[in-house]
Each structure stands twice: as C-alpha cells, then as structure tokens.
C-alpha cells in the first residue's frame, strides 16, 4: 500500500514550514511511530536545527558537480532504512545531476510507492501554475517548480500562515537569514506588499485544495474519470460569468466582474450569446476582438454561444462551466409589449441551477457608448 503524503505549504521562506514538520515528526515518534529525517534544510536557523535533535537522520550523500561538493538526499539509503514516516524538506528542490531523479518530488513518489508516509514542505511560488502570477506580483521568479498535480496527490495540505508583519519581524530578528543577508532580503523580496500578495495566493490555493477534496463521487455515474469530471464544476468554488455584448459599454461590466472575481478568487468567463446567423464583421468584429483581447489581459475566458434566446444560451453555459455568479448589465427601459415581459435577471434565475446568484451592473449616468 502506498504511503500518505502531507505537505506543509507557506507563502515564503521563514514562515515555519520545516519547524512545523519537525514538530509533527516528534509528535508521531512520541505516538510510537518509526520516524526518520530523509532530508532537512535548516538554513542556518538554530531553532530549527535544535528541533531536529532526537530524530534519526538518514545521512546525506555527497555529489560532486563541476568541482563543487553538493549534499543531496540519499534515496537508496532512505528506502533501505524504510521508516514508517520520512520527513523530506523542500519538495521543489532540483537534484544534482547523477541522482536517481531530476526533482525531489520524484524521489518522494518513490518513497511513497515503497509504502512510507512522507511529510514535506513547499512555498506557494514553486507551484507551476502560480509561477507567472507570483512573478508578476513580486518581480521575482523562482526556477524550481513542481507540477500542481503533486500537491493534488497529497492526502493533506497544511497552510503555515503568518502575517507579513510577523514574518518581517522574524527576518529582522535574524531568525530567517544570517545577519549579512537581512537588509538585502528586506529591500527585495520581503516587502509587506509582496508578502500580502503571496499570502493571498497561498490562502486561495489551499482553499481550492480543500474544495477539491470535497469531491463527492456518485457511484451511479459512469467511469471514475467521468464521475470526477462531472463533479469538478461543483468542487472548484465560486465561478463568475459576465454576459457581454460586442459593444464598448460591455467593457465596464467586464471591469466590475473582474474586480469581483479577484475579490472572490473566482475564475471569470465572459459570454456573448450571439443570435444565430449574425455575422461577425465590421464593428461587431472589432468589438469581439477587443473583448477577446481584454479577456486575455485579465486571464478570463471569452466564450461565444450561438442561441436565439439569451436566457437559454446563458443558462446552458452556466451549467456547463459550473457558474455560481452571473453578472449582467442594466437593460434599456422596455417599451411597448416588452414591458409585460419578466425582467432578465428573474428569467436567468429561473433558468439556471439553484444557488446561482445574479447581479446587475448599473449603467453609468449620462451618455453611454
């Protein structure tokens, strides 16, 4: 039987991931389990090193690469030692050439396959899908990344959270880096703005992981893959859908929708329900291109659904995409018999699955586009 993986994730170095991993290692040992440290990186932090005392450590192996002696986890030795639980720091680490695998998470997979439980650590910016986002937020790109699937394989993900102010205080007190590196760190990566952004990303990531674990697989639905695919829209939390038209006034609706989606941490879809047969040319084509372009800038998805009924088209897409929130622009005042018709938001609420909220974005005062 494969071992279980528990990952301690944090927003940045110094939040206490390794410390917490060691604390839990001690607790497991005291509970009677056979625990060994496969690899630990103390980063010259005396408190962390002290906490490793009392836990058996599998000796590292020395690797010489380009005349430099490097120390790596000794995977064969750890597998031969075969503890019940191995503590392996820095999941995203890249091994020196010549090791069994290029990346440490691949070593961890071997350890798990051998039936050994693993506790490991990672920072949020090492997740592949977040790497670009974190680079843009902080201006710093990390080279060592892991596929998001590795985190998805974890049986438990524990967020080690600290406020940016507390982390900077730890940094100033010399608890994260040695004295000579503190000022450089404070001036570059460890700013309150960077840490706030990273903390938000870490919290959202773990919230998504928690949601994903809530997948309820119904036995009545086809194969396991089909069942999971059917449940995914329900499991990813909030998802927004903004109903747009190829005209400049839709840009304001998109901006409002994007700001809400950012606050909720929800993916955003932009949908134009196109009347069948309407050609996309001239001004319409120009506005469709502009919407597509804006969606790309914002990281949203632009969709065109052909239907002669706006409500039916929107409801169909909302069901397919697992939408939880629909935003529509304010309609023009109806004239004539249209006054007798039920307003769009009500029709949308009746047509979409229960629990989908509909929000109306008011038109701006004065002349619209």
């Amino acid at each position: 039987m494969a071992g279980r993986l528990k990952v301690f994730i944090g927003m940045a170095a110094g939040v206490g991931k390794t410390y917490r991993m060691l604390q839990e290692g001690h607790a497991e040992r005291e509970a009677g389990r056979d625990v060994a440290i496969g690899y630990m990186e103390p980063h010259k932090r005396p408190e962390t090193s002290a906490l490793a005392d009392g836990l058996e450590t599998v000796p590292r192996r020395r690797v010489t690469y380009r005349s430099t002696d490097l120390e790596e986890m000794d995977l064969p030795a750890l597998l031969a030692r075969a503890p019940e639980l191995a503590l392996i720091d820095e999941l995203a680490h890249t091994n020196a050439p010549g090791a069994e695998h290029e990346k440490r998470y691949e070593d961890v997979r071997d350890v798990l396959a051998a039936g050994i439980d693993v506790f490991s650590t990672v920072n949020v910016q090492h997740l592949e899908s977040l790497n670009d986002q974190v680079t843009e937020l902080t201006g710093t790109r990390v080279r060592e990344t892991i596929p998001d699937a590795v985190l998805g394989e974890a049986d438990e993900v524990v967020l080690i959270d600290l406020t940016p102010e507390a982390l900077i205080e730890r940094l100033r007190a010399g608890k994260v880096y040695p004295g000579e590196n503190i000022e450089a760190a404070l001036g570059n990566f460890f700013t309150v703005e960077n840490l706030l952004a990273l903390r938000e990303v870490a919290l959202r990531q773990v919230a998504q992981e928690v949601e994903a674990k809530r997948l309820v697989v119904e036995a009545s639905l086809g194969t396991r893959t089909e069942r999971v695919a059917a449940e995914v829209p329900k499991a990813v939390g909030e998802r927004m859908l903004a109903l747009v038209r190829p005209q400049p006034s839709s840009q304001r609706l998109v901006r409002r929708a994007w700001r809400s989606s950012q606050r909720l941490g929800a993916p955003l879809d932009l949908l134009w329900v196109k009347p069948p047969g309407q050609p996309i040319e001239g001004e319409v084509e120009r506005q469709v291109t502009a919407l597509r372009h804006l969606a790309s800038v914002l990281g949203a998805t632009f969709l065109i659904e052909e239907s002669d009924n706006l409500v039916d088209g929107a409801a169909r897409v909302a069901r397919e995409r697992g939408t939880t929130y629909i935003m529509v622009g304010e309609s023009e005042s109806p004239r004539g018999l249209a006054r007798l018709r039920e307003p769009l938001p009500q029709r949308l609420m009746r047509a979409t699955p229960a629990g989908v909220d509909v929000r109306i974005v008011a038109r701006r005062e004065g002349k619209e586009e």
């Binding site: 843009e136 201006g139 304001r252 800038v297 914002l298």
Partner: protein, 190 residues
C-alpha cells in the same frame, strides 16, 4: 353644427396632430441615432501609470465632443521579458481598471463616448505600436511630460510623429499644469 363643438373638434385635431407629429419625429430621431455608425472618428489617448494629466484628458474630451468622436483611453502595460507577451497581467490590470473608470466617468459627464483598451508590449512604445496596428484612429493625443522616466520619452514622441497613421497632438508640459486625474479622482501636484 354648433360653433362651440366645431371649435372643440378643431382643438382636438390640432392637439392630436401635434402629439402625433412629436411621436413620429421622436421615433425618427431615435432611429437615426441607433443607425448612426459607431466609431467613425476615434481619438486615442494613450497613458501609462496611475495618473494622467487633467489638461491632456480635458483636451482630448473637448476634441472628442466637438467632433462627435469616440475617445479611446488606452492603458499601456510593459510586460517584463521573463513573462510571455500575451500572458495575463492582473497586477497591471488592477492599476488600469480604476484609471479607465475615472476617465469614463469624466467623459460621461461631458457626453463623450468611450471605448477603453489595455495594451501589452515589451515597452510602452511597443504597446503603442501594437495598438496602432490593431485599431484605426483619426487623432492621437499624447501628454508630454517634463519628468524624466515618466510616461513617453522624447524619442517615443518622435517615433509616434513618424509612424502614427493619424494626426498626432502632443501637449507640451505646462508649468501651470499641476492637476492629474487619478483612480481616486483628481489631485493637484505638490
């Protein structure tokens, strides 16, 4: 027929005629408005950063209003080389959104149509080049700045004059120009 009733019928006919004429004229006017092709004239107002000279914005709005043109405020974002050029840029978008909102509010109060853009490039000039290749404009209004490193450089403006397939209006920095439109409204320079 008694004279009183006759007068009454004439009055009713006059009122009905007036109302009918008004309704026909209104519907024709509406029809014309909705038939009016959009964006015949476009005025581009490119900007960078989180504020724009109020003088430049007001000049662009005055022109747009006088010519019944659509104003296209365009936020130019420089994407670092370590990121793909077409990647999502949420941090830049977060700066651009409130600025575009503030510009649209000001434009709406002056009855000017707006069609906003956010354009990416490796530099501000590159972003502007991409925008010019994608859209067509009748005019480009650019605020020159006296502050080194802010907005468009002198080289950028020369390039724009040479390359832009439209009339370029460069507003020279005015010592009296101390007001800016920001995401939070207006501010006066210190």
């Amino acid at each position: 027929m008694p004279v009183g009733i006759e007068h009454l019928l004439i009055a009713v006919a006059l009122v009905a005629g007036l109302i009918g004429g008004y309704l026909i004229a209104r519907s024709r006017l509406r029809g014309r408005r909705s038939e009016r092709p959009q964006a015949i004239h476009q005025i581009l107002l490119p900007f960078t950063g989180t504020e724009i000279s109020r003088r430049a914005l007001d000049a662009a709005l005055r022109l747009a209003r006088a010519e019944e043109a659509t104003l296209m405020p365009a936020y130019l974002a420089a994407v670092p080389k370590r990121l793909p050029l077409d990647c999502a840029i949420p941090a830049e978008a977060a700066k651009a959104m409130p600025m575009l909102e503030a510009i649209e509010q000001r434009a709406a109060s002056q009855d000017v149509s707006v069609d906003s853009r956010i354009e990416r490039g490796r530099s501000y000039r590159h972003a502007l080049e991409r925008l010019l290749s994608r859209e067509s404009f009748d005019r480009v209004v650019v605020p020159a700045t006296a502050e080194a490193g802010a907005g468009f450089s002198g080289d950028d403006l020369v390039w724009l004059l040479e390359k832009a397939p439209a009339e370029v209006l460069i507003l020279r920095p005015d010592p009296e120009d101390r007001r800016f439109v920001t995401a939070n409204g207006s501010r006066a320079a210190a």
